[in-house]
């Protein structure tokens, strides 16, 4: 089999959002609207269309499928190939496989290590299957891509640390409190980032969320969105006594929470630890609060630093992840090469089967009427003879395939077997 894998696409690095919009295939990848049909040299196809990338994977003989896929893609969006080409990247065989593995492992994503892309790729594969456009190679390639992504996630830290400020705050909270469902949160102010952090807290399973704001109506509004309750701003300190996580983002010109206040609060709550996140500018919480035992205070700069360190860490881990991708690409390449043996093995087995049936018929004819046991014994013997005769040439080809660094040697072995056994 001389199938070639082509991957063509545009992404957040090669094309601005206006261009990606023009060539998005989001509405052209259902079974009814599939943009890249398996015809005219394309034997298999897959479309991945997300907000950050549009990619088309096609399999077929030679370079013709790539051109055909380009034409179909441009046509589906009512554009020309010339309009699309300046933004395009094109990969073939190993490069295409490596790129797909990188995409699945989120090494090619805008936010390195983000988890959504794997789900999007799975959805794209599902649609290709429903559209009957995924064949032997795409099936195997996509399953491999999913397992590579899983391996990258489990063996490297490429996706392990938070890279958004609000999520980093929640991750830090989990390092302080083991079971979030036993802890209460209080949001002071109704800023957008505080709301985002509160959403993450809610997702992390925090027990109860309360919102305090100088304008009570706004507190009620936010509390409703978060599934929490609004509390009067002037009762802030009494609510702090049974609050474990505080997110503060008011527009107050000076600090509203001082170390002396927190000392009293701590005494009343019997030193139970508190995590204070101050994302207001100017800051709402006096920095000296962090010197108190069992209180952990992080301001916006501290969180930014955490996020930057996490991003740097992910980049470092990406190097290890790419080594895994390279290793898996080589393994997939080997499987792909092994497909070259398949037609010869099939021809050899079919030839053996044919000879066995002919010779068995002749022998049975010569013997005349025989009982079932004799017939069965003859059939088994003939079958095992053919299997044993086939074993040597098949092993010969497989051994050359596994030993040979140069595919030429494999092809020579295949050619030898075909000539010796007169296989067409």
């Amino acid at each position: 089999m001389n199938s070639t894998i082509h991957l063509i696409g545009i992404n957040h690095r090669t094309a601005a959002v206006e261009i990606r919009e023009k060539f998005a295939l989001t509405n052209f990848c259902s079974p009814e609207t599939w943009a890249i049909p398996t015809s005219d040299g394309i034997s298999e196809s897959l479309i991945l269309s997300t907000c950050n990338r549009v990619e088309v994977l096609v399999v077929g003989e030679g370079d013709a499928p790539r051109q055909r896929a380009l034409e179909c893609w441009a046509k589906a969006r009512g554009r020309t190939v010339e309009e699309l080409e300046p933004y395009l990247y094109q990969y073939k065989n190993d490069e295409a496989i490596r790129h797909l593995f990188n995409v699945a492992s989120s090494l090619d994503s805008l936010v390195l290590g983000e988890p959504q892309i794997l789900g999007q790729l799975k959805a794209a594969y599902r649609k290709a299957t429903q559209s009957h456009c995924a064949g032997t190679i795409i099936n195997r390639l996509l399953h491999k891509a999913f397992s590579v992504a899983k391996r990258v996630r489990s063996e490297t830290g490429v996706a392990s640390s938070a890279v958004s400020i609000s999520y980093a705050a929640v991750e830090l909270a989990k390092q302080i409190f083991d079971d979030m469902s036993r802890h209460n949160a209080l949001i002071i102010g109704a800023g957008e980032m505080a709301e985002l952090a509160a959403m993450h807290l809610r997702q992390a399973g925090v027990k109860r969320i309360r919102v305090a704001n100088r304008t009570y109506a706004r507190a009620e509004e936010l509390a409703q969105r978060l599934g929490g309750e609004a509390v009067p701003f002037d009762q802030l300190f009494s609510h702090l006594v049974d609050t474990d996580i505080v997110i503060s983002s008011t527009g107050a010109p000076d600090a509203i929470i001082h170390a002396s206040d927190m000392r009293d609060v701590l005494k009343k709550r019997k030193n139970r630890p508190m995590f204070l996140i101050d994302i207001a500018m100017p800051r709402d919480i006096e920095p000296s609060v962090n010197t108190l035992d069992n209180i952990y205070l992080y301001d916006i700069d501290d969180l930014k630093e955490v996020v930057e360190e996490h991003i740097a860490e992910r980049r470092k881990e990406a190097v290890r992840a790419r080594a895994i991708v390279d290793e898996e690409t080589a393994a997939f390449h080997q499987w792909l090469d092994s497909l070259t043996l398949q037609p010869t093995i099939v021809a050899l087995v079919e030839r053996g089967q044919r000879i066995m049936e002919e010779e068995l018929a002749k022998t049975l004819h010569r013997l005349g009427p025989v009982d079932d046991a004799t017939r069965e014994a003859l059939e088994i013997m003939a079958d095992s003879l053919v299997r044993r005769f086939n074993h040597e040439p098949i092993s010969f080809m497989k051994d050359r395939f596994h030993e040979a660094a140069n595919p030429e040697y494999t092809m020579q072995a295949v050619d030898t077997v075909r000539r010796v056994f007169n296989l067409k």
Binding site: R272, P273, V306
Partner: protein
């Protein structure tokens, strides 16, 4: 090697393997290797239990040796670690148990030939030893949790990024809870052990105290234990202070066990 010795060697081998696997699992952040370490540690504990049972059946209590003294102590420590790992879902406790189990078990085996020097027997004496071993065993686990707490807390307080395997360590709240549980269980046990010891001394030696240094260090440990118990229960101490105190109590227990018993002249030097 006789078949009765088999559990002791098996126990040490499993604890040693568990220690190596723990280190590899924790540093390499491999969940599979960590799981293997936990299984090896649990296997080590089963062998440890057999070893203890065979020792008791062999009459070790009638001729207390230093080795036998360390055997139930290491068993109590391992049991405390296993209970914490199971109840608190904190596998890290097992990674702490394995090296200590190996160390104390090796000492127990190494000292096993030392003959007993005291006519020790009776339920009061058994209660004295058992209660003290539980008290020290749980405090050993609390000290391990305390050391981790101080290390992690320092990083969080000073905004040092938690990198590598530090991300996998239990949350501060969970580590503090180990300290709370250990104090709650350990203090009454240790107090009971000391009380039984004094009563036994009164019956056997004619006086509650004989001025032995071991008695003073035990009272000092009891006082620290009482302080920890009181401050936690009455004043709501949490976090750093109890963690530091647990480390001090465990260090004092080790001093009492290995320095006082072996270096100084004491009636407890069996």
């Amino acid at each position: 090697m006789t078949w009765t010795e088999l559990p002791s060697y098996l126990c040490l081998a499993l604890y040693a393997l568990a220690t190596v696997a723990s280190l590899a699992g924790v540093l390499g952040r491999s969940a599979r290797v960590k799981k293997l370490a936990c299984l090896l540690c649990a296997g080590g504990f089963v062998a440890h239990t057999l070893w203890l049972v065979i020792s008791i059946a062999g009459g070790a209590f009638s001729a207390v040796s230093r080795g036998f003294y360390l055997l139930p102590l290491s068993w109590c420590l391992a049991l405390a670690g296993l209970l914490v790992a199971r109840r608190q879902k904190m596998d890290i406790a097992l990674h702490f148990v394995a090296p200590w189990g190996f160390f104390l078990g090796s000492c127990a085996l190494g000292f096993s030939g030392t003959p007993g020097s005291l006519p020790l027997a009776g339920p009061l004496f058994i209660l004295h030893l058992a209660a003290i071993f539980v008290g020290v065993g749980v405090m050993a686990v609390a000290a391990g949790a305390g050391a981790l707490f101080l290390w992690q807390e320092n990083a969080i307080k000073h905004k040092t990024p938690l990198e590598g395997f530090r991300k996998d360590l239990p949350a501060l709240g969970a580590l503090d809870r180990v300290n709370a549980m250990a104090t709650l269980v350990g203090f009454p046990c240790y107090s009971l052990g000391i009380l039984c010891g004094f009563l036994w001394a009164r019956i056997s030696w004619g006086s509650f105290m004989s001025g032995d240094f071991k008695e003073w260090i035990s009272l000092f440990i009891l006082a620290l234990y009482a302080l920890l118990f009181h401050q936690r229960q009455a004043l709501g101490w949490r976090g750093r202070k109890p963690a530091i105190l647990a480390l001090i109590i465990f260090a004092a227990s080790l001093f009492s066990m290995f320095v006082v018993n072996t270096v100084l002249s004491t009636q407890h030097g069996f």
